[in-house]
């Protein structure tokens, strides 16, 4: 069985190679699906554009689909992701928006870990009793809350109630330091400004809480299930018999093993979190890729942006694939039974 550090490179390399066909497939599918209705696509995507834009679009659309795809794919690899209706390149817009979304998603993931996992442990500990039912009601209400309803309630009622801001990344429009990473909290910290860091964090709380609440069920449910699997095992029983406190038994001995399975959650939640950002970022005016997606797709009556929408779909799929890869590697590292070769 190979578990030397050098074998880990093979393990990761294999996973990366397996990704290539998936990524190509993602691009093919996205392109095909967004070009499904060839007769209508130009009018659908450029409803307010001038005759020349429509004409250009139709010139492209009248070529065979395969030619269009090859053209698109080559451009994509060259970093030319198309232009929006105003002629601005899509790629820089997406590159600028991505870090803000990453920050929001990571903050939500953090909340899911520090709140969702202990809740799962509690539910497993009191399985079938009222604490278990209460936890279930909590995460199922998150599951059942439409993202926009949660976001709107948080922005309109929860924000003023708790004194938290609910729009943008900072209270002021222009910040007096350069944004290297485009992640508000990290930029403020890099600039060494404590008030701005606090301001950035307070702006991050509400959208992250909404995003985490809606996706909480996956983490809690997975933790609960793996804890229920681990708790009756002999080693937990002997830890108890040694006289360890219940807290120590649950959180050190049992949870440690249960968490190995819970890492796979990372891959599963990536899709949910990213879908959530489309509405959450729009409601909280968070300048990330979710808001970009909302606008590109023509949400709220905005002018749709065909190239941008396709690019966003591809980016979201790549993000899910990357999250699955990280979860896969993490699982391989944490579970000693996985052979790296």
């Amino acid at each position: 069985m190979g578990r030397n550090p050098s074998d880990l490179l093979i393990f990761i390399g294999k996973r990366l190679l397996q990704l290539i066909p998936v990524l190509v497939g993602v691009i093919v599918l996205t392109f095909f699906f967004t070009h499904l209705d060839l007769t209508n696509v130009c009018n659908e995507w450029y409803p307010h554009a001038g005759a020349s834009t429509i004409h250009n679009c139709e010139l492209t659309v009248n070529q065979p689909l395969a030619n269009q795809f090859v053209q698109y794919f080559v451009n994509l690899l060259h970093g030319n992701w198309g232009t929006d209706v105003y002629g601005a390149a899509v790629y820089p817009q997406i590159a600028a928006a991505l870090p803000a979304t990453l920050e929001l998603v990571l903050a939500a993931l953090f909340l899911m870990v520090v709140i969702g996992i202990p809740l799962g442990v509690i539910a497993a500990q009191f399985s079938g009793r009222w604490a278990d039912h209460l936890v279930r009601v909590f995460y199922l209400s998150g599951w059942a809350t439409p993202t926009y309803l949660g976001a709107v309630i948080a922005a309109v009622f929860l924000g003023p109630l708790l004194g938290l801001p609910s729009g943008g990344e900072f209270s002021t429009k222009a910040v007096p330091f350069s944004q290297y990473t485009h992640m508000s909290v990290i930029d403020a910290m890099l600039a060494g400004s404590l008030p701005y860091t606090a301001d950035a964090i307070s702006h991050l709380i509400l959208p992250a809480v909404v995003l985490a609440f809606i996706n909480m069920g996956i983490a809690t449910r997975m933790t609960r299930a793996s804890m229920l699997e681990v708790l009756p095992l002999d080693y937990v029983r002997s830890a108890r018999m040694k006289g360890l406190s219940e807290f120590w038994v649950l959180y050190k001995h049992a949870l440690r093993n249960a968490l190995i399975t819970t890492t796979t959650v990372l891959g599963i939640t990536a899709g949910g979190l990213l879908s959530g950002t489309v509405v959450v970022e729009e409601v909280f005016l968070w300048p990330g890729i979710g808001q970009y997606a909302y606008v590109s797709i023509g949400g709220g009556g905005s002018v749709p942006n065909f190239a941008g929408a396709i690019a966003v779909v591809i980016i979201f799929a790549i993000a899910v694939v990357a999250a699955n890869l990280i979860a896969d590697i993490l699982y391989g590292v944490l579970d000693p039974r996985v052979d790296w070769r």
């Binding site: 279930r136 926009y148 309109v156 793996s226």
Partner: protein, 340 residues
């Protein structure tokens, strides 16, 4: 055959479901809510006038009225009755949830059966199952909301294109689920025994495999109806699926309209009514499905059987999934819920 004691008699699916409901008050509540919602939806679909006092776009003369007996959820800026609109949207939203999840179950389920049952390498079925699983993996990489949004946009606005778009993105999870179940069932002794005694492959598939795969898939379907509903109404909220006010209201579109017209601070009931309708419907399906999932997840099932039946686990649980009489009581517990 000696009369078996009642304790070891294999349970029927209905009995298992009933035991879950009895042991889990939340699931029972969810079930009751679903029945209620279903009855209301049926009544609205058959004869709206029994429950709905006003038409969807009927001018009532009361503008932004607070909730009252005449207008349980108040009225909006057009003086339309919010309660009537919320109720009129119920059959549409519920129907869309069942339609999309149902076609994903049929389409994805069929592909999953093929990929799981005919997966012997070197045969036509083997090649087919590899192709199916590769394509499924690609589809599973998309967050379905964003892909559905893009497809809707390309197909054209409206309810039909949106349903088609979500349907196109929804089936892959069923492929993976059904394939995992089929692979697990396929190796069980009773399937091997059937094959050894000369039963044809198609007959094994129809009579032994499908029947036992059905149960977990139907449970997932229950949970899934709610997820579809949330996704559809999100697309409605973004404004790509349907418009409001309209003769056929839809919850997501209602919410988007009321929220964008700035009504939430002054007239919160307008935003809450359709929002609460979605929440209650999805919550009901989730309550039921979440409890049922406990018996399908191999990790929680053991704990569930222990706590609700108070008997030793191994003999009983696999029996719930197997036709009576075909299993020796010592059949090993298999992992029904584990996707391979």
């Amino acid at each position: 055959m000696a009369p078996t004691p009642p304790a070891s008699r294999p349970d029927s699916s209905a009995r298992v479901v009933w035991r879950v409901l009895r042991s889990n008050p939340l699931s029972l509540g969810g079930f009751a809510l679903i029945v209620l919602i279903g009855v209301v939806a049926a009544v609205v679909a058959i004869d709206p006038h029994l429950l709905i006092p006003y038409g969807p776009q009927q001018i009532t003369g009361a503008y932004h009225a607070r909730p009252s007996w005449a207008h349980p959820f108040g009225t909006d800026g057009n003086s339309f009755d919010v309660y009537s609109n919320v109720l009129l949207a119920l059959p549409l939203d519920l129907g869309i949830g069942i339609l999309i999840a149902g076609s994903a179950l049929l389409g994805g389920g069929t592909l999953g059966l093929i990929a799981g049952f005919f997966d012997r390498p070197g045969t036509l079925g083997g090649a087919l199952s590899v192709v199916i699983m590769r394509i499924t993996d690609i589809f599973l990489s998309f967050p379905s909301l964003i892909l559905a949004l893009a497809i809707t946009r390309a197909l054209g606005l409206g309810v039909g294109p949106t349903v088609l778009a979500i349907g196109l993105t929804w089936w892959p999870y069923y492929v993976r689920l059904v394939r995992g179940e089929v692979l697990a069932v396929k190796g069980l002794p009773y399937v091997v025994a059937a094959r050894a005694s000369g039963v044809s492959e198609w007959r094994i598939l129809a009579r032994h495999v499908i029947r036992n795969v059905l149960e977990p898939v139907v449970v997932f379907f229950t949970l899934d109806i709610g997820t579809v509903l949330v996704t559809y109404s999100t697309i409605g909220f973004i404004g790509v699926a349907s418009k409001y006010p309209s003769a056929q209201p839809e919850w997501g579109a209602m919410l988007a309209f009321y929220q964008s017209s700035g009504a939430i601070n002054a007239y919160p009931w307008e935003v809450f009514a359709p929002g609460a309708a979605i929440f209650v419907t999805v919550f009901a399906f989730s309550l039921l499905g979440d409890g049922l999932r406990d018996i399908l997840d191999p990790r929680t099932r053991r704990a569930f059987v222990r706590s609700s039946a108070g008997r030793e686990p191994p003999a009983e649980v696999p029996a719930t999934a197997l036709p009576s009489g075909t299993v020796p009581p010592s059949a090993p517990a298999n992992d029904l819920g584990a996707p391979a």
